[in-house]
């Protein structure tokens, strides 16, 4: 069953068409990837899915329900969480606070019961803390619980951002270049990490990535975007040997 369906989406900024007639269906429980040269429209596609942009044309369906036109916070509530290309943690807050904040969207008590620490709020707060500690423990981040987010090493910050997205109870995780700025050994670790969380949290993962080795290794299906057009899709091997993909990345050979 497809968990996410991008149906004929076009996104124009003035005269520039960033994404053109994009059709993608992500299958539940899989790891799929969106690749393409710089400026191909990958992040724009993510921003359309998460509600940051309203597409010029077309719609996005999540679990069969149309989510186009909803604000980003409502889309996250439905179960789509994301990370960002340039890490966007709550820098001056602790690791634990970062995770707790991602639990806020499931809070039922209003601000008054929260402020007055009424029993039902206190119960929710306790559950929130337990759940966050468990999550940090599972991802081996508990030892950093009280550290300020921006003081973490780069790799841990990436991991924390993924942890924070998981804390929203998402079913679909969108990762925007999770391996950006990582060295080969860190990338290997990340690849393992992505596999682990997929299995542990029963996730579907859709990611944008530049590291071809990572993409080729873990993605079950790859979509290739070039100048806003979907030029190829399929398994790693199929995509690797596609003439148009090679041209998009290496350029067309010109006869002298």
């Amino acid at each position: 069953m497809s968990i996410l369906k991008i149906d004929n989406v076009t996104m124009k900024f003035g005269g520039v068409t960033a994404v053109n007639n994009l059709n993608i269906e992500i299958q539940e429980g899989r790891i799929e990837a969106l690749i393409g040269p710089n400026g191909a429209g990958k992040t724009t596609a993510f921003n359309v899915i998460t509600g940051v942009y309203m597409p010029t044309q077309g719609s996005v369906y999540y679990k069969g329900e149309k989510i186009t036109g909803l604000t980003p916070d409502k889309i996250t509530k439905k179960g789509i969480a994301r990370t960002f290309q340039n890490i966007r943690l709550f820098k001056n807050l602790t690791v634990f606070e970062n995770i707790l904040i991602a639990n806020h969207l499931r809070l039922n008590s209003n601000f008054l019961s929260g402020t007055l620490r009424l029993p039902w709020y206190s119960k929710e707060e306790r559950q929130m803390r337990e759940k966050s500690e468990m999550l940090l423990d599972k991802l081996d981040l508990l030892r950093l619980k009280n550290e300020i987010a921006h003081s973490l090493p780069y790799g841990e910050q990436r991991k924390l951002e993924i942890a924070r997205a998981l804390a929203t109870d998402a079913d679909l995780l969108l990762l925007d270049e999770p391996a950006a700025g990582m060295n080969p050994s860190e990338t290997m670790e990340l690849s393992e990490f992505i596999h682990t969380i997929r299995d542990e949290f029963k996730l579907t993962i859709f990611m944008i990535e530049h590291h071809m080795d990572l993409v080729m290794e873990i993605s079950e299906k790859i979509y290739v975007l070039d100048f806003g057009q979907l030029i190829a899709q399929g398994t790693a091997d199929e995509v690797k040997n596609d003439q148009r993909v090679i041209e998009a990345y290496l350029g067309v050979e010109e006869d002298a």
Binding site: F90, E97, A102, L107, F111, L144, N146, T168
Partner: protein
């Protein structure tokens, strides 16, 4: 582990000691054993400034909205107390040029009711202006809220049958004890502190840190901004109401927009994002402004009159201090930290940690 328990116990004892000393000092001041009316007035004013400054810090320091509308919200609270607590018998004397609105002329409320009404009206107005204005960001929001604050003042100058216009309202019943000001300050600031440490407060901080990420984490930006803004306005209204009863008189010029800058100075000095810093700064700035009055009077030393000592010099000195502060002390007294006994002890023993250690990280 042992050390930690001892620290907790020490903190508790020190806290109890502090509360006892605080209560004793207020009681002594109240019963006129120490101090005089002037000192009491400055302290009461400081308590009021603390409420309004913390309310402004809630919006600016914790939620990251650059709002400058505090004076306007205070005016709403102040006028609510002024209009509804002046005894009915004295109304005609006060509204001697334009008679008071016949409906209002028959309503007299107890102080607490008028104070709360003022707070709620301020919050209501905040919601009304927040809906369009909170879609703006940073400087634009500041300009819009500043404009709003001026509109309130001008409206209050002109609706004479309600506010008595530029003449103001006099004979507002005053409070017999400092506990009214300090009690309400403790409740108000306590409430805001509990809010800030709740899940909603964390959401506010998330918005301050990164709006895009906060929204991606499912936080409804608009709802939380309006919430912070209107709760901030509520307490600014409460502060305004207390100001009315302290001065026993209100007029629109008390809420001229530079008033807001005093609170801005206080929260910058105390630390954007620190409640305890704000409280300390409220007392320092309020008392400081009084002490600086010395510069406003002509000074003669050894028969030579010193030039420049004349009304207005106080504000020049004040502005220079503000500039020095911004240049050399940008994070204010406490930055985003809160004052605690641990911090004081660490500071005194000269071992202020540069980086917070992962205390109890592996222990569950």
């Amino acid at each position: 582990m042992m050390n930690k328990i001892n620290n907790k116990k020490t903190s508790l004892y020190l806290n109890i000691l502090l509360i006892v000393i605080f209560a004793a000092v207020i009681t002594l001041l109240d019963t006129n054993v120490i101090g005089d009316a002037y000192v009491r007035r400055i302290l009461n004013l400081s308590a009021i400034y603390a409420i309004v400054s913390v309310s402004m810090n809630l919006v600016n320091g914790f939620t990251g909205l650059f709002s400058l509308g505090q004076a306007g919200f205070m005016a709403i609270g102040a006028y609510s107390v002024a209009i509804f607590t002046v005894p009915l018998a004295e109304r005609a004397k006060i509204f001697y040029i334009t008679p008071q609105n016949p409906v209002l002329a028959q309503i007299e409320l107890p102080f607490v009711a008028a104070l709360l009404l003022g707070g709620f009206l301020a919050a209501l107005v905040a919601i009304m202006i927040g809906v369009p204005v909170l879609r703006l960001k940073s400087d634009y929001l500041a300009i819009a809220t500043l404009g709003f604050s001026e509109i309130i003042r001008i409206v209050f100058t002109n609706i004479k049958s309600i506010t008595n216009g530029a003449l103001g309202i006099k004979n507002i019943p005053t409070m017999p004890t400092m506990w009214v000001f300090f009690g309400i300050a403790i409740i108000s600031i306590g409430f805001m502190r509990l809010l800030i440490t709740s899940s909603y407060g964390r959401a506010f901080k998330a918005i301050r840190e990164d709006e895009v990420a906060a929204e991606a984490m499912g936080i409804n930006l608009f709802k939380h901004k309006v919430m912070s803004f209107s709760i901030g306005a509520f307490f600014a209204g409460i502060g305004g109401g207390l100001l009315a009863t302290l001065f026993a008189t209100v007029d629109p010029n008390q809420f001229y927009f530079p008033v807001t800058y005093n609170f801005l100075l206080i929260i910058v000095l105390g630390g954007m994002g620190s409640i305890s810093g704000t409280i300390i700064a409220s007392f320092v700035v309020t008392a400081g402004l009084e002490i600086l009055r010395f510069f406003d009077e002509p000074l003669t030393l050894f028969g030579i009159s010193i030039p420049l000592f004349r009304p207005g010099l106080r504000m020049v000195i004040f502005s220079i201090l503000l500039m020095l502060l911004v240049l050399f002390f940008r994070n204010g007294l406490l930055g985003q930290k809160e004052l605690s006994w641990k911090l004081i002890i660490d500071l005194l023993s000269g071992k202020l940690p540069r980086k917070k250690t992962g205390e109890g990280g592996g222990v569950q």
